[in-house]
Structure formats: C-alpha cells, structure tokens
C-alpha cells in the first residue's frame, strides 16, 4: 500500500516500500502560474529533509523545491525538464519530480495527510 503525504512547502510525497516519489501540489502550481523552467537534483546525490532539491520558475519568479524527507536520488523525471508546462497539467501524477531511496520512514510522520493539507492550503492562501 502506498500513502501520500504533504508538506507545508506544498510538496507531495508518495511512499512505496522505501522509495518515495516527490512532486509539487496542484495548489502550488496554481500559486506559481505557468511553469517555464525546472531544475532537478543530481541522480545519485543525497538530499536532506527540508533542504533544496530543485527549482521551478514561472514567468514571474523562481521558487525552490524542497524535499520533505532525506534520501538518495534514484530517479528523475526528465519530461518535466524538457516540457515544464506538464507540471501545470498534471502536477500530482505524471509530473512527479524525483524519487528517493529514503533512510528514515519516521520522517513521514511529521507530514500532513490529504485533509490536513487541503485545510492548510486553503488557510495559507486566504
């Protein structure tokens, strides 16, 4: 069974075994507007919980993408680098950013579930 959790920085994370798939939420894409540039971490590199693990840029501004958990980058989604507009089209599914082999599953515990995140997103944009 996979579970999806959400961070306060508007990333989603789906855990299957010890592999976490990470992307940004639909709410984040709505705040950013049209995404025109994406930068991903290097494959094989290690990223730390709450550290920078990429960049998205809209026509307006650049925003950092953070990783909600620590781990080794084992896969990247090159299609969102080649065509960043895919992130606006399908942010919480095919337009995932990177996959991590995670070290510590307990890092997931501090993250929000869907209902908590929806409430948080609604309040933070009010």
């Amino acid at each position: 069974m996979s579970e999806v959790k959400y961070s306060k920085e508007h990333e989603w994370i789906k855990l299957e075994g010890n592999i976490a798939t990470i992307g940004i939420t639909k709410h984040a894409t709505e705040m950013l507007g049209d995404i025109v540039f994406t930068e991903l971490p290097e494959k094989g590199s290690n990223v730390e919980k709450d550290g920078t693990a990429g960049v998205v840029e809209s026509t307006k501004a650049a925003s950092d993408v953070y990783t909600p958990v620590s781990g080794e980058v084992v896969d990247l989604n090159q299609s969102i680098v080649d065509d960043p507009s895919k992130i606006n089209q399908d942010p919480e599914n095919s337009a995932w950013f990177f996959k991590l082999k995670i070290k510590d599953k307990s890092e997931m515990d501090t993250l929000m579930n869907k209902d908590e995140y929806d409430k948080f997103a609604k309040e933070s944009s009010a």
Binding site: M31, G33, V36, F37, T59, K60, A62, S85
Partner: protein
C-alpha cells in the same frame, strides 16, 4: 506565496471589471493592478500576439500642458526633441533627464491642439510633475489628469475590434493620434503600444472606461495583466523604467540614442546635452544589450554577467521566459567592449555559470503599422 494587497492602494476605473474577470491583483506604484487573469500569463501573452489584448494602464500619468510657442521653446530646453517640427497629433518617445543626463522617466509626448500630452510612468508621475513645474517656472497650465483612464488594445486584431467601436481609428499611423467622440465622450486615441504589436492607447473619461472596455471584450478582445505586459515588452526589446532605465543611466548608455534628435544634438541646448554629446562622441563604458541564455535557464534581474575569462562585465536588468520566442530572454548592461552581437558570456544563476550570447533586439519581430506621412 501570494502577496497581500495593501488596502491604501488606489483602484482604477476598471477595478470592478478586473474583479469580475477573476484578476489576481498586485500593488504596483500605489495601485491595485491585475497581474494576470484566470488563463495565466503565457496564454494572455499568446492571445495578444495572435489576436487582441486589452491592458488597463490607467495608473500611468496623463499630463496635459497648455501653451503656445513659448511652451515649445521651453519644452525644447527640457526634452532632446525637435518639437518645433512635431506635427499636430504626432508623438515622440523621449526622456526627462537630470543635468547629468540621468533618466528621471521615459515618456511619450504628443502635440495636441493648444499644447502637449505627455504619458508618464506610474511610479514617476508625481515626481515628474514637480520637476516639470519647476523647470517651466509655473508658467503654463499643467494638469496631471486623474479624471481619465488609459486603456491599451494591442495585437493584430486590435484595429478591426477598435474600429468597430470607434470609427476612423484605422486611419491613424504609428505614433500619431486624434480626438474621437463616442456616446458624447471625448476620447483621445494614439496608435502606439508596448508589446511589439500593432495597437492603440485610448485616453477616456473614468466614467465611460468600464462600459467602453466591456464593448471591446464583446467584440472578442481579452483583458491582459501586467505579467504578460512584461513578457511582451521584453520580447519586443523595450525598456522598463526602474529596470533598464534609472537616474543612474543615460539614454546613450540605454542604447536609445535613436530617440534623441540629431538637430538638437548639434545645438546642444537641452538639459543633459553636455553629457549626451560627450557620450555620443567618445562612447560609453557600459551599454544596454539583449542577452540570449542557452537552453532554458532564466536569468532574472541582478544576475551577474561574466566574460569568457570569468571577469564580471555586467548585470541583467530584466529576464524572463518569452512565450513567443519559446525560450528565455533577457536584457542587461555590459562593458562596451563585450557588447558586440554574438559575444559569448556567462550568467551566474544559483551559484552556477551558464552560457549565453549577446544578441540584437528585439527578440520578437515587431508588427507595427508604419506611418506614411
């Protein structure tokens, strides 16, 4: 992420229409202005290039100065223009400068019956008014008109749309204007713009602005926000005050010497003429250029520019993704010796140096309707 809108800011006459059109607002020069509508910047940009976009630019200053020959003489001491030969209803791009030729503002000045109409940048207009009033010794009637809105309609279909509402605008040439009457309202229309497309700017009474704009929308034009206005002007290689232009830059450094009258340079009796003449004769140390990053990397304002020997040679003043170019575009200032087209440079973005080249402007070819005179 969304910036809160300060409640003290002013609203334009189209505020309700913006709200009805689901605008996202930003505080710009003390006004609540639409940055984008529901379709987003890229779609708004493309719609303007392919069809017709409406821009609320009512935050900009509309300064009417009334006077006869004395006024022409006095304004020639301020602006580097041949105003004596500026025909009625014709417009020129110019600058309000300091004694050191630093740019206080860039503007469009139009000869109208009994005087001139000057369109000023929103953030500069109050200061411009004070400076001009002092320079003109309070001799002339000057009105920074808050009773009129300014609405731009830009893009290839704009002439068809606007003429179906105001007959006769199709006969205007680029950088000229005229008065028109619609439902007993006096409207001043110029063929001009800030997108690189054919289009018009319409000065209209506040009370009529909303109804007029809704008519344009009924004819197929769409509202476009400041976000797309910025990507459009950047692709067209046009300067934005506070970015490419400032008190620390001269028109020669800004690569805008085309806007300075050659006749007036020879006489040299305008504010800043000493510096302008000197720079035209001996060159400038830094100059505005177009910058084309390789790949998709976006170099924003303040990005440092390096040469191939890793020496810092300049800085980016505006940079974004150009939807019509389908790639990143930027402008900046570099040391003169590195300003030649196709010069290889490097842009420092998030700690890494990315290759780019100096390129000619505009990034996107203009579609202006040229005058026949």
């Amino acid at each position: 992420m969304g910036k809160r809108v300060n409640m003290d800011t002013k609203k334009t006459s189209l505020y309700q229409l913006h709200q009805d059109s689901k605008a996202k607002f930003v505080d710009f020069a003390g006004y609540q202005m639409p940055i984008q509508y529901s379709e987003g910047i890229v779609e708004e940009h493309r719609f303007t290039r392919n069809h017709s976009g409406i821009f609320d630019v009512s935050h900009m200053g509309q300064l009417f100065i009334y006077g006869q020959e004395d006024l022409v003489d006095d304004l020639e001491r301020i602006f580097p223009l041949d105003l004596k030969n500026l025909k009625l209803n014709h417009s020129k791009y110019s600058f309000l400068m300091s004694d050191n030729a630093g740019i206080y503002d860039d503007l469009i000045i139009t000869k109208i019956k009994d005087g001139f109409l000057i369109i000023l940048n929103a953030a500069c207009k109050e200061n411009d008014f004070k400076i001009l009033k002092a320079l003109l010794n309070n001799k002339y009637k000057m009105i920074l008109d808050e009773e009129r809105s300014l609405i731009a309609i830009q893009g290839p279909k704009s002439v068809q749309i606007l003429k179906s509402v105001i007959q006769g605008v199709e006969n205007l040439n680029f950088m000229s204007g005229n008065w028109f009457t619609l439902d007993y309202h006096n409207i001043y229309v110029t063929r001009s713009g800030y997108t690189g497309e054919d289009g018009f700017e319409v000065s209209i009474t506040n009370e009529f602005a909303d109804r007029f704009t809704r008519r344009l929308i009924d004819k197929g034009a769409k509202l476009i926000g400041l976000g797309a206005r910025d990507t459009l002007r950047l692709e067209a290689g046009l300067c934005l005050y506070g970015h490419e232009l400032s008190k620390d830059k001269t028109p020669v450094e800004a690569n805008l010497k085309w806007a300075i009258s050659k006749e007036r340079i020879l006489k040299g009796n305008f504010i800043g003429s000493d510096i302008i003449t000197k720079q035209l004769n001996s060159g400038v140390s830094k100059i505005r250029v177009g910058v084309k990053p390789e790949g998709r990397i976006i170099a924003r304002e303040k990005t440092k520019i390096y040469n191939e020997s890793d020496l810092e040679i300049g800085v980016i003043t505006s940079g974004t993704f150009g939807p019509s170019v389908n790639g990143p575009v930027a402008m900046g200032y570099v040391e003169n010796e590195f300003s030649k087209k196709n010069t290889k440079i490097f842009l420092e973005v998030r700690g890494k140096k990315h290759p780019a080249t100096i390129c000619s402007l505009p990034f996107y070819k203009k579609n202006y309707v040229k005058g026949f005179n």
